[in-house]
């Protein structure tokens, strides 16, 4: 069912070479090169002979057109021919691949190959995760111990007198028993509240301790310890018989704990809700900027909020788009050779600046025409893509319930339907992705999955294409694209200090960094002015002419 597939629809990829740059298994596939471009292939052609002869023609053509930089010129040979060492892999490494035209099978080496980058990342992750986990477990156990202490204390206060001096104890009257109910319910409320506020899955591991939580923990600990001291000295030692007083003491402890919980809510949750600062976040590689409003937070918490916004708002980081400006910069530097005659230290850079200023440089011209050309090319490819996808979508139809019972033949589930129509649009889509340099963001598997998803949910071709036409936020893509879950906060001020007007810090990740500057939202002085509704009066504009 593949367009131009191999013998009788069996797809095999031969002549493999391990490419260590790409992570995707299907990146090892090779297919028709530039020679096949521009030729309309019939959809779902399953006749191998016709396809094969077409391929041999293309092979010749592709050899002559290998000067096009973005296409690889490799040949997919059917199994009868010998493994070729001369399969023409010209020029640069394949960044992209011809899955639009070829097969689906994968050789053994591809699944287990790792690129150098992957290895670095994995080792880094391993090193850091051990340290972080220790700290996380440590804080968790501390929190659990404190919680248990807090909950068991009132119960202990109530139970201990019965255990230690049961004979001397006064019996519990009505009011006292009523207080038991109150203690029970307050403890239940406290339990639920603490669970809601504190026992949530941790979102992140921050570099320094969370100051407010630590303060609250210390406060609670001191509080409970002081209550125990008092209890120990005045009640246990003297073996007080007034049980009602003891119960009231326990109730006051629980009340105070509830108030401390209220304090915790205000400090941890409510204080930073009101926006106080406007932060400007800029990505260092391509200048994408967004502005967010944050409340009064410490720098590390603000950084956490910004990273979460980053994953949702910023378009995915695409290093392929930066290569053009880098090559331009290289060209600028390469044009001049400087000879140091006098032996002075900074004369070299000054000489270069002076020469660059004087040189009549036409690179702006090239840039302008190149960009216009690129724009035109993208639009053309997009038009072809839209047409191909729309046509592909017309080939399948959702079957109604009644029809399902009547015609059981050739019924497909969404995944099979997606695989059926995918070949007809695959080439156009691949070419478009190559032109916009997004080909590494989307693997064939993910495209087919997305197609099946769109078919299942009755989406139109336009809805299907939307995720390929514009780069979406990072979270939309596969896990590979957010390998950077290790962020480094670089700040001159201490990271537990609060955000201030004009504070600047950096969030560095492996490929780029986010530069964050904050500005205080100004104090707004508003005054009122009362307008009487009856004071709206109008006159006609007069322009009279009188003859005298």
């Amino acid at each position: 069912m593949w367009e131009g597939g191999g013998r009788g629809g069996v797809c095999v990829c031969v002549g493999s070479e391990v490419y260590t740059q790409c992570d995707h298994p299907w990146s090892l596939l090779k297919g028709e090169g530039a020679g096949g471009a521009g030729r309309q292939r019939p959809i779902c052609s399953s006749h191998s002979l016709a396809a094969h002869s077409e391929r041999s023609r293309d092979r010749h053509k592709s050899r002559s057109k290998d000067s096009r930089s973005e296409k690889s010129v490799t040949i997919n040979t059917p199994p009868a021919e010998p493994l070729l060492g001369d399969s023409a892999v010209r020029g640069e490494q394949v960044q992209d691949d011809n899955w639009g035209e070829t097969t689906t099978a994968v050789t053994g080496t591809s699944e287990h190959s790792l690129s150098q980058e992957d290895i670095v990342r994995i080792t880094k992750d391993l090193e850091d995760s051990v340290g972080l986990d220790c700290r996380r477990y440590f804080t968790r156990t501390l929190a659990v111990i404190l919680g248990l202490l807090v909950f068991l204390t009132p119960l202990a206060f109530l139970v201990l007198p019965h255990l230690l001096w049961p004979e001397k104890l006064q019996s519990c009257g009505t009011a006292c028993e009523g207080l038991f109910i109150s203690v029970a319910f307050k403890l239940l409320i406290l339990l639920l509240a603490v669970w809601a506020l504190f026992f949530r899955p941790a979102r992140a591991g921050l570099p320094r301790v969370f100051v407010f939580r630590a303060l609250l923990a210390v406060l609670v600990l001191l509080f409970v310890v002081s209550y125990w001291l008092f209890y120990g000295v005045r009640i246990l030692d003297s073996q007080d018989e007034n049980y009602q007083g003891i119960v009231q003491y326990a109730v006051s402890l629980v009340d105070a704990l509830l108030f401390i919980h209220y304090l915790a809510i205000v400090l941890l949750e409510l204080r930073q809700l009101q926006p106080c600062f406007s932060v400007c976040v800029t990505r260092s590689t391509d200048g994408e900027t967004r502005h967010y409003n944050l409340g009064q937070l410490s720098i590390q918490r603000a950084a956490l909020a910004i990273i979460e916004h980053y994953y949702c708002d910023f378009p995915v980081h695409n290093p392929a788009l930066l290569s053009a400006s880098k090559s331009r910069a290289a060209k600028h530097l390469a044009g001049l050779k400087v000879y140091n005659v006098d032996g002075l230290a900074h004369s070299q850079s000054r000489a270069m600046i002076a020469a660059a200023a004087r040189r009549r440089d036409t690179s702006h011209n090239e840039l302008y025409y190149e960009e216009a050309e690129h724009e035109r090319r993208v639009r053309k490819r997009k038009a072809r893509l839209v047409v191909a996808v729309e046509e592909a979508f017309t080939h399948i139809k959702r079957m109604q319930e009644e029809e399902q019972k009547k015609a059981p033949g050739d019924v497909m589930d969404p995944r099979e339907a997606a695989q059926a129509i995918f070949p007809s649009m695959a080439r156009a889509l691949q070419k478009y992705l190559r032109t916009t340099k997004q080909q590494h963001c989307h693997s064939m598997e993910s495209i087919q999955q997305h197609l099946a998803f769109c078919i299942t949910n009755n989406m139109t071709p336009k809805a299907f294409l939307e995720s390929y036409l514009t780069p979406g936020p990072t979270l939309q893509y596969s896990r590979d694209h957010w390998l950077a879950r290790q962020w480094t906060l670089i700040s001159e001020a201490s990271v537990t200090s609060g955000l201030k007007d004009g504070s600047i810090f950096l969030l560095k990740c492996v490929d780029f960094s986010l530069v964050v500057t904050s500005k205080k939202i100004p104090y707004i002085q508003m005054s009122e002015e009362y307008i009487d509704p009856k004071s709206h009066k109008f006159v006609l504009r007069l322009q009279s002419e009188t003859s005298v």
Binding site: R541, L542, E545, T546, V548
Partner: protein
């Protein structure tokens, strides 16, 4: 008598000449007419005055001259700004007040001090080099 004020505006090089014009009123039936129409006044909209170059000028302007009437004969021209009528100031009056000052029944003659925009004069004078006294 003629004072020339050279004015540079956006649109040209105008000069403002002040002139004194004496009009004899003509009796027509029960009325004494002067033969022109006025527009403007402090209670009017100055933006709609086609004759003023400063659209906030609320002075009294001559908007129409009856051909052959007393004003025409006396040399009053359309677009003149009336500064004084018989010694009374007309730069800050309402439209109705201006009308009344011009149509007093017991006066036969009105002596007007008007300001006139004149482009040709300025060009001639700048080419001539010296303002004419």
């Amino acid at each position: 008598m003629q004072e020339v004020v050279l004015l540079l505006t956006n649109f040209g090089f105008y000069s403002l000449k002040q002139q004194r014009i004496e009009i004899q009123k003509l009796r027509q039936g029960n009325n004494l007419i002067l033969g022109f129409s006025i527009g403007g006044g402090i209670d009017q909209d100055p933006g709609q005055n086609p004759f003023s170059e400063d659209k906030t000028d609320k002075g009294i302007y001559v908007t129409r001259i009856t051909p052959g009437g007393p004003a025409d004969v006396a040399g009053l021209m359309m677009g003149d700004k009336i500064m004084q009528v018989n010694g009374w100031d007309m730069t800050m009056v309402t439209h109705d007040k201006a009308r009344k000052r011009l149509t007093k029944k017991n006066e036969d003659v009105v002596r007007l001090l008007v300001t006139r925009k004149s482009l040709e004069e300025a060009v001639k004078q700048s080419m001539g080099g010296f303002p004419r006294p």
